[in-house]
């Protein structure tokens, strides 16, 4: 293959490079600086054909490095911030890593990888990286237990859902932001939209308070922003949303229930609000922009577009060129079934003309032989006007094995004196809409609920 046929990120930066930036709380770097400089000290050539572990302390350097490494390395594994040290050796072996790009070399001094290239802010360099191949992009799944799986993508697949809607000349350039980390699938999608789609990118920072983050989003003129429903609930709860007016608001990564969609519509009345289905393995499945939870049953089927979908045994299956091409590793399982479908493990239920997500297959709670997904309970609880977010979970029972209990965070303006009344109203809603074994046996009010580094509600028992 001649290099000209290869699609590398550096070849798709587009125009207006001096106006477009990638920024975090401390730095803003223009794309022009990236095209005339190197963040690897001009050493990208040493990574030619290598399998590179890209492990930086923050997102900014990761963003620079992946632009410089794509098209040079054979493989590039994006390390998410919460990768556990004990999983490092097996991931390095499975991905056949033979080079590390990092700003924290001491973290990898014990690893049996002999090439380590430091990464920093871009500096002018005469030795610019050349596109020589299509790099395989490796990402890690965000499961809560065990060694994460390594998922292989191509840049073409990752960009498959990014339609060529480059900004019209004369229009203001889009400024993208996400609450996600760009080293995860959901965040990388936004980063690629900014880079390939002709915009700027404002990165999040885990050390930054939410109010400061929102102030920075405003200052940077963010127009397009995405996050998980948990991220958005936190924002709505904080009261910081009032000073912010994005044009385009997207949710993904968790079930977007009607309550959070309505809450965002109220907070951002002029914005386009939608939710998307995507996973690290299945890629971007579809987007729903009618303001309603769930998705139209007409999306299922084959040959309707880039994505084929079906429901088997209650779980959503996706076949798509945007999907990953394989799990990578010595004992990697098959990613798809014989027909090329990825089983997402996301369970759906048909009600009328629409499918609704009910939860993860492996998150099911068994109450005396009857099954319940915590998410379906949360969707009912979150529908209460004074509830901001909730978590349903299993509690051990000597009688039924498990029962369901719930923790609830009230909205900022909820009257604490009404807690008992709210509890009774929530229970009445649950009894009206759920089978008896799905109604929480106990409801506890809590000030906040943990969200994982991947932006999802922490489920210790899932």
């Amino acid at each position: 293959m001649s290099p000209r046929e290869v699609f590398a990120l550096r070849d798709h930066l587009g125009t207006a490079l001096t106006e477009r930036t990638i920024s975090d709380p401390r730095h803003a770097v223009t794309l022009a600086q990236l095209t005339t400089g190197s963040c690897l000290g001009g050493r990208a050539g040493e990574l030619d054909g290598r399998s590179v572990l890209l492990a930086t302390s923050g997102q900014l350097l990761a963003g620079f490095a992946l632009i410089e490494i794509d098209g040079v390395a054979r493989r590039m594994l994006l390390c998410p911030p919460d990768l556990k040290t004990e999983h490092l050796a097996s991931i390095i072996a499975d991905a056949e890593i033979d080079a590390i790009v990092t700003d924290e070399p001491e973290r990898f001094s014990e690893c049996a990888v002999n090439l380590s290239v430091p990464v920093g802010l871009p500096a002018l360099s005469a030795r610019m990286a050349q596109t020589t191949r299509a790099t395989e992009w490796l990402m890690l799944t965000s499961g809560t237990s065990g060694v994460p799986k390594i998922v292989g993508h191509t840049l073409e697949g990752l960009c498959g859902a990014i339609i060529g809607d480059r900004p019209v000349p004369g229009d203001a350039l889009p400024v993208w932001a996400t609450f996600y980390d760009i080293r995860r699938y959901g965040g990388l999608q936004i980063f690629l939209r900014a880079i390939v789609g002709g915009g700027s990118m404002v990165l999040s920072d885990p050390g930054e308070a939410l109010a400061d983050h929102v102030a920075r989003l405003n200052k940077c003129g963010v127009t397009h922003i995405s996050g998980t429903p948990s991220h958005w609930r936190k924002l709505l709860m904080s009261g910081s949303a009032e000073q912010f007016a994005p044009r385009y608001v997207r949710l993904s990564g968790e079930i977007a229930d009607q309550a959070v969609l309505d809450g965002l519509k109220q907070a951002f009345p002029r914005a386009s609000i939608g939710h998307a289905y995507a996973s690290t393995e299945a890629g971007v499945g579809f987007a729903v922009n009618d303001g309603l939870e769930g998705f139209p049953a007409t999306l299922l089927g084959e040959g309707r577009g880039a994505v084929d979908m079906k429901v088997v045994d209650g779980s959503l299956r996706i076949r798509s060129r945007r999907a990953a091409h394989a799990y990578v590793g010595r004992a990697a399982a098959a990613l798809t079934d014989g027909d090329g479908y990825v089983d997402t493990g996301d369970m759906v239920e048909l009600r009328g003309e629409r499918y609704y997500f009910v939860g993860r297959r492996n998150g099911v709670i068994n109450v005396g032989g009857l099954k319940v997904h915590p998410e379906e309970i949360e969707a009912v609880i979150n529908g209460h006007i004074e509830v901001r977010m909730s978590r349903a979970k299993s509690r051990r029972s000597p009688i039924t094995g498990s029962i369901v209990v719930a923790e609830v965070v009230l909205t900022a303006d909820a009257d604490p004196a009404r807690a008992e009344a709210v509890r009774n109203e929530i229970l009445a809603d649950c009894r009206a809409r759920l089978a008896a074994h799905k109604v929480p046996a106990m409801i506890r009010f809590v000030p906040a609920l943990d969200v994982t580094p991947a932006g999802k509600l922490a489920r210790s028992d899932a």
């Binding site: 005396g368 029962i403 229970l427």
Partner: protein, 81 residues
């Protein structure tokens, strides 16, 4: 409120929530006769664990589940402090 009264109050509240019409609660009434299903008992045991700080049915493996209301209440009363 005594352990007995708290248990009776919890039973009445769950009966109300679960729309179970309770017969008069005497010590001799069998648990089956209360009209509670296993889910209602599971909720009762969990709430009593929060209220009284103890779950006698999980504490010890040789505790058999009681037959009557009286047995049920004694299981809580007899838990060593």
């Amino acid at each position: 409120m005594s352990v007995r009264l708290r248990i009776i109050a919890a039973i009445k509240q769950i009966a109300d929530e679960q729309k179970v019409k309770l017969p008069q609660l005497t010590d001799e009434l069998t648990l089956h006769e209360t009209g509670f299903d296993s889910l209602a008992f599971a909720i009762l045991v969990a709430r009593l664990e929060d209220d009284l700080g103890v779950d006698p049915f999980t504490l010890s493996e040789d505790v058999t589940f009681p037959n009557t209301i009286g047995d049920f209440i004694r299981a809580y009363e007899n838990v060593p402090a």
